[in-house]
Symmetry: C2
Subunit: 344 residues, 2 copies
Amino acid sequence: MKIKKEVTIYDIAQQLDISTATVSRALQNNPVINKNTRRKIQEAARELGYRQNTFASNLRKQKTNTIGIIVHELNSNFITSVLAGIEKVTADAGYDLLIAHSSESFKKETANVLNLFHKRVDGLIASLAFDTRGLDHFQSFFDKNIPVIFFDRVEEKADNTKVIIDNFKAGYQATKHLIEQGCKRIVIVTASLSRNVYAERLRGYKEALRERQIKFDEKLVLIKDLSEKCGREAALQILQMKPRPDAAFITNDFSAAVCMQTLKEKGIRIPQDIAIVGFNNDAICKIIEPQLTTINYPGMDIGEMAARNLIAHLKGDTDIRQTNTIIAKSELIIRQSSLKKGNK
Amino acid sequence: MKIKKEVTIYDIAQQLDISTATVSRALQNNPVINKNTRRKIQEAARELGYRQNTFASNLRKQKTNTIGIIVHELNSNFITSVLAGIEKVTADAGYDLLIAHSSESFKKETANVLNLFHKRVDGLIASLAFDTRGLDHFQSFFDKNIPVIFFDRVEEKADNTKVIIDNFKAGYQATKHLIEQGCKRIVIVTASLSRNVYAERLRGYKEALRERQIKFDEKLVLIKDLSEKCGREAALQILQMKPRPDAAFITNDFSAAVCMQTLKEKGIRIPQDIAIVGFNNDAICKIIEPQLTTINYPGMDIGEMAARNLIAHLKGDTDIRQTNTIIAKSELIIRQSSLKKGNK
DNA sequence: TGAAAAATTGCAACTGATTGCATTAATTTA
DNA sequence: TAAATTAATGCAATCAGTTGCAATTTTTCA
């Protein structure tokens, strides 16, 4: 099979005996070109099987119509919803997406940022890795005034636009709910406190305790990585504690599910012996036994907000430096795993 | 803040008073350039904050070093593992990935194919959407001899390289296992039979029945979309059937989990009343109660194989037309949900 | 020391589309 | 009908690298 030569606007121009300038304009539907000519050119393009060379175009136009996205992982319901939300907005506006994921590694994140910078994305939407500290690796973007919007895992102090939920409130609500169920010794399983989301959730937890005059006990705070393994570990640690805790707020649904299962294996009844609250409202919440009380994390909304905001920047509707923090609504969803009422 | 002007190889050339040709070669670490010159140029590039213009480069080189990936969804464990496998291989070989997903829509898939074609990916790895029929929408790739490799959801008749598991065998094993547990009326929940994977699994199911002289009953085949809703529906349908089935082979773990849960709610005991086998070996298998027997679908391996094969094509090690079908190993993983032994 | 070989470097064409400005053609107006 | 508008098209520079081939410099070896 012969490989067909690539068709360019020169070929079209030649065939119709007109200039490439006219062809280029016609293909962009520029009204300055005569309607008939335009139609003729577009037809010829179709017939010849012309495809635009994005590189030549990007090179000349000095922009890519592409938005870069950096997330920590792909395999969570939350992230998938965020992506869906972003896609919904950007597709309409005619932008392409370039998705990179850091596997929770700062090193990979840095590489991704650099890569997307080289690829010259017009803007960036990012959620930071676990161990990312500071935003120096985004400096290249800041220097060139390329808009960057963060979501979920953000750098709180930094002066950037961010889309987040009120993690403090979420932590507070979850804890308050557990207290209202009569729990007094509430374990909290969370991740590195240098990551805003986790620090805030803990702060909310503390506040709820304080409000009800329950003394905060350092030993009930378990800092983990929110993996499968960590769910198991947390369960075992909980079993070792005495007096035994009567509730656990595990800031990730999957870990919570594993933890709950491990506890059940050891003969602990949920929620009677230990009440459990997760975080995210992943699909698993509803298929485990008992169903998991959790915080709904509205990924789709967050994605949409981030994308909409970014596009506003790109269109010049808003100044990049006019940064702000957008708070999405989250809420406590109460299911069986935390309802001790029957126990009273 | 002033936006810095972009640094090009011309700037570097000027500063060092050499030609752009030398700069270009040096930045590619071309050994034809003197080591010292190379070092000097690379240093200057770093100092000036030079970043390569990929478009100019791609335009001239006529290739992108990018591999396109089209999947039906992102939010499954299986797909995520495949992506991880692909990434592992391609990253080493210096390729970038462009990931698109079709949301199970043929229309979106077509758009994605076109888009990646315009983006001039050097090769493509794809898994087809539910309702995709034929491969005409890939014709542009075939015409230009751009290698395309399919995995999981493939078009069986088509003459392309594909990486799959032996779905027939998987269906056979799952069914045989259930029969060995003493089950006689085995429901199979699967998806559109025009999609190879599902058709094959059903064929395996039939074969296992035939072998044990169990009559095949059309009414026990439920064609669904393998969503959450479908798990619930399947459960309700099963409850309606009389005599009641004693097993269900649900070709998707998540659906199986939902189905199982619904059955449990209705007072059915698993596996005593109804044994259940899923498909994929997603993480949920181990966190539901009872743990789910399933078919392990080695996503990572499949991704690696597909990527390795594609890269071999790209490097010219193998002819694109020398297509083949690569079968990855899959296996039955037996857990509680199907073990009726205690029942006998 | 001088010629041949090897190592470096540079020239200039090339990749394909876009766009400011000039030119030409068509239409309107006085 | 000539001048003035308006509409349509083309010229040619530009975007930033890459690379075949030629030219130059350096090294090697007799």
